[in-house]
Assembly symmetry: C6
Amino acid sequence: MTEQWLESLITATPQEGFELALTLSRRGVKYTQPDTEVLKALRHGYANSADGLTAASQVVAINFQTVAAANNYWRGI
Amino acid sequence: MTEQWLESLITATPQEGFELALTLSRRGVKYTQPDTEVLKALRHGYANSADGLTAASQVVAINFQTVAAANNYWRGI
Amino acid sequence: MTEQWLESLITATPQEGFELALTLSRRGVKYTQPDTEVLKALRHGYANSADGLTAASQVVAINFQTVAAANNYWRGI
Amino acid sequence: MTEQWLESLITATPQEGFELALTLSRRGVKYTQPDTEVLKALRHGYANSADGLTAASQVVAINFQTVAAANNYWRGI
Amino acid sequence: MTEQWLESLITATPQEGFELALTLSRRGVKYTQPDTEVLKALRHGYANSADGLTAASQVVAINFQTVAAANNYWRGI
Amino acid sequence: MTEQWLESLITATPQEGFELALTLSRRGVKYTQPDTEVLKALRHGYANSADGLTAASQVVAINFQTVAAANNYWRGI
C-alpha cells in the first residue's frame, strides 16, 4: 500500500483528534481486509450488533489515547 | 459529521471527567452507527447483558485514562 | 445523574486505590444500566462465570492504572 | 473487606513484580466473587481453556504495566 | 527463531510507524503459529469476519501506541 | 514457584524485547496452568484458531509496551 493517508498525529482540536482516531481504527481494519466490497458487507453486520459497536468504540478509545498524547491533550486550547 | 460535541478534555472535577469518558465512549459507537433508532433498540440488549455491560465499562475505563491524564489527575483539587 | 460519588483519585494507600478502581469499574456499568434490580440479577450470572470474572478483573486493572498513576504509585509510602 | 493484602507496589525484582501483578489480577476477581469454593470450581474450567488462559494472561499483563511503572522498570538493578 | 526482523522502532513518518505496528501484530501471531500455510488458511476466515477484523485492528492500535511513543509522536515533522 | 525466570526487563535490541514480551505472555498463562501437558494439548487448539492467535498477539503487544518503555524504546541504538 503506497497510498499516503497519515501525515501527522497533530490536530487542531480534540474533536479532530477523535476523528483521526476513527481513521486509524478503520485503517487497522483495511490493511487486513483491503476489499472495499467485503468491508461494506461486513459493516452492516457489526453496525447492528451491540457487541460489535462496543468493540469498535474500544479500538477508537485506544487510538484516541495515542492521538491525545501526541497533542499533549490540547492543553493550550 | 460537522456537529461540534467535544471542545476540550479539561474538566473541573474527576467525576465530570468520568462523565466525559462516557460521552467519548458513546460517540465512538455513534460514529459507526449514527442511526439513533438502531442505537436505542440495541441498548436494551446490552444493558441487560452482563458481558455487554462489562465491555461498556471497559471502554469507559480506557477513555477515562485519557481524560485523567489530560487533567493531570486533578491533583490540584 | 447529579449524585456526587467521585471527589478525588488520590487515596492514602495502594489498597484503597485498588478499591477505588473497583468503584470506577462498577460506576462504568451503572451509568449504562442504572436499575439496581437488573444489576443484582445480572451479578449472579457473571460472578459465577470464569470469563465474566476475568473480564471484570480486566476493567479493574485498567482503572487501577489510572488511580496508581494519579497517586504517583504511592512511592512515598 | 477490611483484610490488608496490598501494602506497596514496590518489589525487589521484576519477577516479584510479575507475581504481584498476578496477585492484583486474582484480587480483581475475588472482590467480585469472594466465595472461595465457587472460585475453585471455576478455576478448573478456565485453567483448561485456551481462551480463558489467554484472557487471564492479559489481565496480568495490564497489571504488570502498573507494577513495572511503579518500580521505574527496576532500571537500577 | 534467529531471523532478524525488527531493528528499530524509529520510523520516518507516522504512516510508516503504523505499518510497523502492523508488522509487530503479525509477528505476535507468527511466533505462536509459525506455519505459513496454516496462517494463510486462517487469514481468509478472520479477514471476512467483522469481529476478527476489529480484534486485529485493536492489536494494531496497541502496538501503534508503542511505536508512536518511541518516535515521540513524530512531533518534529 | 521459586524458579528464577525473569532477571531484568532490559534487552540489547527491540527484537529481543519483543521476544521477552512473548516470554512474559506465556508465563502469565503458566502461572495459572502450570501443567505442561495440559498447555501442550491446549496449544494445538488456539494455534489453529484465528481468534486465539489474535488474542495471543494482543497480550504480547501489551507486554511489549512495558518492555519497550523499560528500555526507553531502544532510542540509543
